[in-house]
């Protein structure tokens, strides 16, 4: 089998640019089935072309010795990386819109040179699902973006339409359900409308105003081209959202879901995946009184597919700490493979992303070499490949550290940036 594959490779090797070829040797490799095994990985033309126990000399110019190290798919995070430089500075914030809601795709504003992007890349993140925060009833569209160095990033999307359900200072959650039902019925019936915008409920505020772009996005959900993604915490709210999605025959993803463990079987029966932070164990609102570390354990036992993000600290700036969230899930009793998948292959699987999240032939060569267990707090990233390109891991924060730890002859401000 192995020999057969190698023979198949020969023409590829002959016609490829050797500079593009990477052979990662002997790393403890996280495999699609959730296991970890010692493997060699051959990368060419930006893709993984072979994963085998041993790959001999195939003429790869770039050989990364990963003996005693760990190799994982690049982390896929959920964040506003590249859309938000400094949290409290609106000037640097491209995550939100007051004009558009359902049709708002913030990833168009992506800045690949954001310092947060550079840091997260250096910490093992190879791509992000961009999270929109428009102010209307819908927050906007999810899009997947590689965070490689340079001006060009591969994107996939839109992946889903984001809204929220539950606790509100405004209307009853019953009214929220009425609204969603009425809105979806309306959009269905107005499918062929040429109107530039629709004020859904006269006399109400901007929340209920939809432009053509917004209506188009909602239609994609109604046509099952992408799922509805609902931020919801409370168990009874989750049941209502499940029922709503079933009635409307739309695909659903749950987000946050701190009380999901109470209705884990219902979620599993509906085949609905959940995106959450395993560290969310505080009854921080009346919608999450039953928040617990056990959430991921019970969801997993029920057979619910999960993806993890890190929601503590400074949000996007610390998105790479999804490893810490996953590590804690293991500490709570989740098996290692499921936890690793929740930050690599599951985000891809949940959103139908093509070619990312796994170490297998045909997948994009988004790979991270770690000097220890990737979920451990004291492990470091050594290499990050995105689309087969070994990334520059330098970042402003290492430069700051060096500036203040090296021997100084002149004041800091006179010293070179390198």
């Amino acid at each position: 089998m192995k020999l057969f594959r190698l023979l198949l490779l020969v023409p590829l090797i002959l016609f490829s640019d050797a500079d593009d070829m990477y052979l990662i040797k002997g790393g403890m490799t996280f495999l699609p089935d959730g296991s970890v095994a010692k493997k060699d990985i051959l990368v060419d033309e930006g893709q993984i072309i072979l994963v085998a126990d041993t790959i001999g000399d195939v003429g790869a110019e770039n050989i990364i010795n990963a003996e005693g190290k760990y190799v994982t798919p690049g982390l896929i995070v959920f964040s506003s990386l590249g859309l938000l430089e400094i949290g409290a500075l609106p000037q640097t914030n491209d995550t939100s819109s007051d004009i558009y809601n359902a049709g708002f795709d913030p990833s168009k504003a992506y800045n690949p040179f954001s310092q947060a992007v550079r840091l997260n890349r250096a910490k093992g993140v190879s791509s992000t699902v961009h999270v929109p925060r428009a102010s209307g009833y819908f927050s906007g569209l999810l899009t997947h973006t590689k965070i490689n160095d340079g001006y060009k990033q591969k994107k996939q999307g839109p992946l889903g339409l984001v809204t929220s359900y539950g606790e509100s200072y405004g209307d009853s959650r019953a009214a929220q359900l009425h609204f969603m039902e009425d809105l979806f019925d309306f959009v269905r019936s107005a499918n062929n409308s040429d109107a530039d915008e629709v004020q859904f409920i006269e006399g109400t505020n901007n929340e209920y105003k939809f432009t053509k772009r917004d209506l188009k996005a909602i239609n994609k959900v109604l046509d099952n081209e992408m799922p509805l993604v609902v931020l919801v915490s409370k168990a009874t709210d989750i049941l209502n959202v499940l029922k709503f999605a079933d009635n409307q025959q739309v695909d659903l993803i749950l987000w946050g879901a701190s009380e999901a463990h109470m209705v884990a079987d219902e979620i599993a029966r509906a085949g609905v995946p959940v995106i959450l932070d395993p560290l969310d164990n505080i009854p921080g609102s009346f919608d999450s009184l039953n928040a617990t570390y056990e959430n991921v354990i019970r969801l997993n036992e029920a057979g619910v597919e999960m993806a993890f993000y890190y929601a503590q600290g400074a949000g996007a700036h610390n998105a790479y700490l999804a490893t810490q969230s996953a590590g804690n899930a293991v500490a709570m009793g989740l098996d290692y493979g499921t936890a690793m998948k929740a930050i690599t292959s599951n985000p891809a699987d949940i959103f139908g992303l093509v070619g990312v999240g796994s170490i297998a032939p045909g997948f994009d060569a988004d790979l991270v070499v770690w000097d220890g267990d990737p979920l451990e707090l004291m492990s470091n990233v050594e290499n990050v490949l995105i689309d087969g390109v070994d990334q520059d891991l330098s970042n402003r924060y290492e430069e700051l550290t060096e500036r203040y730890t090296k021997e100084k002859e002149l004041p800091n401000s006179y010293r070179s940036r390198e």
């Binding site: 609102s285 009346f286 400074a314 949000g315 500490a331 979920l375 470091n380 700051l400 060096e402």
Partner: protein
């Protein structure tokens, strides 16, 4: 809703605090600040420990909190106190716990928490951390806002937290007094108060006060500084006037004079290096000492100055970027502060978060890794001081807790593995020798708020 959550999250991060460590005379000189009465009289701690166990833990790996890590060590405690640590202790009549493959540390101390004043659930009706009605509110006391039924305490306890310091928020130049609490279940705040722990004063630099008071002032950093100095001048005048009229009362100035007299420890929320240096100047002008700068995302830039001044810095391992003054992050911040001037710096890992407080050991691990990566030779024993001895010093309670020394409070944690691993959990937590948390038997305090809402626990 997403935005709402984000705003709450950011707000939680923004409302930081500050604190201090310093030696202080126990005698107030000539003046009546009511400090002694406050500490030992009306507002004194009424904490009574639960019955202490008499236990010897055998053959554990022991971090003493003073920089050391011992293999195959025993720890004996009884009557609420550490009796001895060593190898092969000879102890009669104590319950024996096999510590093989287990780790023992002092109880973890967080010197920056808002549990109780920003309890869960986070709703306006119990949001009591910032008296944001005036830039100077030295007269308010966090202990008068603390909700004794906050369900967050036990979550921190499961992470090994035995002592935490509750501060007012950072909306004001002077936010008010902080309070140090034992992580015990009680119906009143005095029943939680750490006995004889000095009071603290929260001060705040930078963006928060100038944002909150942008219309009425201060609206600039120089306005902030004028505000601190004005208040201290007022406190000096008050102190003089006490000589003529020792019976007068002024709540605001009683706190400030308490600082000038060295009785109250200053905990100063301050991110930027240049601002911290300015705050040190102000402390010199008025003759007080800053115990601790809190948050100090740029502390590494003045690590030598902090070491020279004997000022601690309470920091996050890696949180940054949520505001402009938190932009110049170095993940080696804690290590650089620690290693300054030949390792004489006082670095503290703090949380300022009801989530982070549950994993201070993990935050210390990340800071340790970053320090080693930056080229420092730092031991695990040293890193353990960041969450034990140094916060105790910062709070003025090192004579009672923070290390496993004979005669100190038996506040300690038994871990099921190395506390610098993400996979490690606290198995048991003892406070003054009494069992406060036991993972195996699910023994832990439940607040009144917890009752009736945890139907899933019996599932």
């Amino acid at each position: 809703m997403i935005r709402k959550l984000l705003v709450i999250l950011v707000a939680l991060v923004l409302y930081g605090c500050s604190e201090e460590d310093s030696m202080f005379s126990s005698e107030a000189e000539g003046s009546v600040t009511n400090y002694e009465e406050n500490l030992h009289g009306t507002y004194a701690s009424t904490y009574v420990p639960l019955d202490s166990k008499n236990i010897v833990i055998r053959n554990a790996t022991v971090f003493d909190g003073d920089g050391n890590k011992f293999q195959n060590y025993d720890v004996h405690f009884s009557n609420g106190e550490i009796q001895a640590i060593g190898s092969g202790l000879i102890v009669d009549g104590a319950e024996e716990i096999d510590g093989t493959d287990k780790f023992v540390t002092p109880g973890i101390i967080d010197n920056h928490s808002h549990m109780g004043v920003y309890p869960a659930p986070g709703v306006r009706t119990s949001s009591d951390g910032n008296e944001a009605t005036n830039p100077v509110t030295a007269e308010v006391w966090a202990e008068h806002s603390v909700w004794s039924q906050d369900p967050q305490y036990k979550l921190a306890l499961a992470g090994g937290i035995t002592t935490f310091h509750v501060l007012p928020g950072s909306a004001n130049l002077f936010g008010g007094r902080g309070v140090t609490l034992k992580n015990v279940s009680a119906n009143t705040v005095p029943d939680m108060k750490f006995p004889s722990a000095p009071h603290s004063l929260k001060m705040a630099c930078g963006e928060n006060p100038k944002r909150v008071y942008s219309s009425s002032g201060p609206s600039t950093r120089m306005g902030n500084v004028a505000g601190y100095r004005d208040a201290w001048i007022g406190a000096e005048e008050y102190k003089k006037s006490l000589e003529k009229d020792p019976s007068q009362r002024n709540l605001r100035n009683e706190t400030l004079v308490g600082v000038l007299d060295g009785e109250i420890l200053v905990h100063n929320h301050c991110y930027r290096a240049d601002e911290m240096a300015t705050m040190i100047n102000i402390s010199e002008e008025f003759g007080y000492k800053v115990s601790t700068f809190h948050h100090g995302v740029e502390a590494y830039k003045i690590a030598d100055l902090l070491a020279d001044e004997g000022i601690c810095a309470a920091l996050w391992a890696d949180w940054w970027g949520f505001k402009h003054e938190a932009y110049d992050m170095s993940i080696a911040n804690i290590a650089i502060v620690d290693q300054a001037r030949g390792g004489t710096g006082c670095a503290i890992v703090h949380s300022d978060s009801a989530s982070g407080i549950q994993r201070l050991n993990q935050e210390a691990a990340k800071a340790l890794a970053a320090g080693r990566r930056a080229g420092f030779d730092i031991s695990e024993g040293r890193a353990m001081t960041w969450i034990t001895k140094n916060p105790a010093k910062s709070l003025g309670i090192l004579d009672q807790t923070g290390t496993l020394e004979q005669g100190k409070d038996a506040d300690l944690v038994i871990w099921d593995g190395n506390p610098f691993s993400v996979y490690t959990k606290a198995e048991q937590v003892y406070i003054d020798g009494a069992l406060a948390f036991d993972k195996a038997s699910n023994f832990m305090p439940h607040t009144d708020f917890d009752l009736g809402i945890k139907e899933w626990e019996d599932k």
